[in-house]
């Protein structure tokens, strides 16, 4: 908060970038491998929302990388799904991985930005991982092949995850011209340029991902 007030004093009124990401491309649910050796029908599971997107500034303004706080975030394992499917965090964030099922899960990632394996742990327990390097981290469960999620780790704080209607809002953006990226399901899908005026205020920017 102090940082935002200082930034406002230094650069003048701050603006915000807001809008909607409309995902038109077909995103079927991620399915488990065919259960050839199973003795019966697989259990019902939660279907993650693959339309959730992340909107972020490709080049952040000066001072965006400051900040000494060590925030926390949560990525649940629930009904054999990671919830949320997409988690956007700032570098240095510790993410808790609570297991809310009655079965074991084994969260791991082999991504370049973070390689980790939490081992198997039962429902009611939680383990945490700190994400210190920016990048995209793909998270899986070793036991349930259909469980996957994305963690986007940013060096700055100018990003937002879309809500169920696809809406997003990035606040406290200093005046200037920025490249804004809409990311969905593993890839940066669309890039746009936007100008936040000197007087601050909201700027509308919508994306359509086909």
């Amino acid at each position: 908060m102090t940082r935002i007030v200082l930034a406002a004093l230094l650069v003048g009124p701050l603006g915000s970038i807001r809008g909607r990401v409309e995902v038109r491309r077909e995103l079927p649910p991620i399915e488990p491998r065919p259960a050839v050796a199973s003795l019966g029908m697989e259990a019902l599971r939660e279907v993650p929302d693959r339309r959730r997107s992340v909107v972020y500034l490709a080049t952040a303004p000066q001072g965006a990388f400051e900040g000494a706080e060590r925030p926390r975030a949560v990525l649940n394992q629930r009904n054999q799904a990671f919830v949320p499917y997409v988690l956007a965090i700032r570098a240095g964030t510790a993410v808790d991985f609570p297991n809310r099922d009655r079965t074991y899960h084994n969260v791991f990632s082999f991504s370049k930005a973070k390689r980790f394996d939490l081992g198997r742990y039962a429902g009611g327990l939680s383990k945490a991982v700190s994400f210190d390097e920016p990048g995209v981290v793909r998270v899986f469960c070793e036991i349930h092949s259909h469980m996957s999620a994305f963690i986007l780790v940013f060096a700055h704080r100018y990003f937002a995850t879309t809500d169920a209607e696809g809406r997003y809002r990035i606040d406290d953006v200093p005046p200037g011209t920025y490249t804004v990226v809409a990311w969905n399901d593993g890839e940066a899908r669309e890039t746009r340029t936007v100008r936040v005026p000197e007087g601050g205020g909201p700027v509308e920017l919508d994306f359509v991902i086909d």
Binding site: P28, R33, P34, G40, M41, F108, G119
Partner: protein, 394 residues
């Protein structure tokens, strides 16, 4: 097929953003998955790792293609086609799954179905096996055959350790491979029922063949009954007891016996399996006992041949994507008593396998293992192997 497969696999492994998800169509109603594995080791002139006369488990390229078609919440059609060393594809699994009540743990499966007995045979994918080798009880070829029978104890003694290619005077007199205790390379045809889920689950099957000799078509007018009771007392611990009984000798071999000796010759089996997993550990143990009825053998009063396979397995992850694993395995055989000799009817075998696995990608696994085999009799008593395996699944 030979030229297409490596190219297709390289393309799949290199596809950007693809993390091994199965191919899904029509909103998930049709799912296609599969696995390719290539295993290489030195020549196995003692046939320790052979699953039949022509095929060593440690010198094998295997391609599986799996499909599951869900017709609503109550029906699914499941199949797998498999090719070994790029030979003609053959169906490994092909069955109908029926789940009558969505809120009850009750399933019926009919066709070429997964076995209910034990645990290892349902570890279908190579990625589910931490080592390239297989447990002896599910792979090692004993000197017993379903289509040819010994006439004396001395014939069995003379063939100890030669299960990869064996010949007997009763029935089919050509040389052919013997049977393992439980054949994990082929699934049986029949119908099975599963009742319950956690903590107790009961599965029972009625099939054409037997554990050691699964059949698509019945060859002896006999059926096998098998069952497994599974219990999960706490999360991470799974225990199971199994049993099976069925006629294993083909009609032609049985009819070649003297009329007075023509009785149903059955395989009887019992098993115990346990798995404990926590943190970075998975520990498994499995015991399989099998007894095969045999016709009267000259020189001995024994009318049943027994075998017992014991296996202990451990896997420990030392770092993300990197694990160490080991398996200790023994296969013992009952003694045949004759006037001049008391000896196991086949040569007992001990196997120790240690290795490591490294996941390059989530769905691309490399394994390297050292396998030591010791046989108490036979032409070649021991053989060690250094084996490597690559597994790509989707």
């Amino acid at each position: 097929m030979r030229g297409l497969a490596p190219g297709l696999l390289a393309l799949l492994a290199a596809a950007p953003g693809w993390a091994g998800e199965p191919f899904s169509f029509a909103g998930g109603w049709l799912r296609l998955g599969g696995e390719a594995s290539g295993t290489i080791s030195g020549p196995d002139r003692a046939y320790f790792n052979y699953t039949d006369y022509e095929r060593s488990n440690l010198r094998l390229f295997r391609l599986n293609l799996d499909a599951e078609v869900k017709a609503g919440p109550h029906f699914a059609f499941v199949g797998e086609i498999r090719t070994d060393n790029l030979d003609s594809p053959r169906p490994y699994a092909l069955y109908l799954r029926l789940h009558p009540w969505t809120n009850r743990s009750f399933d019926v499966q009919a066709g070429r179905i997964p076995p209910v007995f034990g645990s290892y045979a349902r570890r279908r994918y190579a990625a589910d096996n931490p080592l390239p080798g297989m447990p002896l009880a599910y792979q090692y070829l004993t000197t017993l055959r379903p289509d040819a029978l010994p006439s004396s104890a001395d014939e069995l003694f003379s063939r100890q350790g030669g299960g990869w290619l064996v010949r007997y005077p009763i029935g089919d007199q050509t040389a052919a491979p013997g049977m393992p205790l439980v054949n994990a390379e082929r699934w049986d045809v029949g119908v099975e029922v599963r009742v319950g889920s956690e903590p107790l689950e009961l599965a029972a099957a009625l099939t054409q063949g037997t554990l050691s000799h699964p059949r698509v078509k019945d060859d002896n007018d006999g059926k096998q009954v098998s069952a497994r009771l599974g219990w999960r007392p706490v999360i991470g611990l799974a225990l199971g007891v199994s049993g099976a009984r069925g006629e294993y000798v083909a009609r032609e071999a049985r009819d070649a016996l003297p009329p007075a000796d023509r009785r149903p010759l059955r395989q009887h089996a019992a098993g115990f399996d346990a798995e404990y997993a926590a943190g970075y550990w998975i520990l498994r143990a499995e015991a399989v006992w099998s007894g095969w009825d045999v016709p009267p053998l000259a020189g001995t009063a024994n009318d049943r041949l027994d075998a017992l396979g014991l296996m202990l397995e451990a896997r420990y992850k030392v770092a993300p994507g990197f694990y160490l694993a080991g398996r200790a395995d023994h296969l013992g055989f009952s003694h045949l008593e004759t006037a001049s000799r008391s000896s196991p009817w086949d040569a007992p075998v001990t196997r120790l396998e240690i290795g490591a696995g490294y996941s390059v990608l989530r769905n691309l696994l490399l394994k390297l293992a050292f396998q030591h085999n010791a046989r108490e009799s036979g032409r070649i008593r021991g053989r060690d192997f250094l084996a490597g395996q690559v597994v790509l699944w989707f």
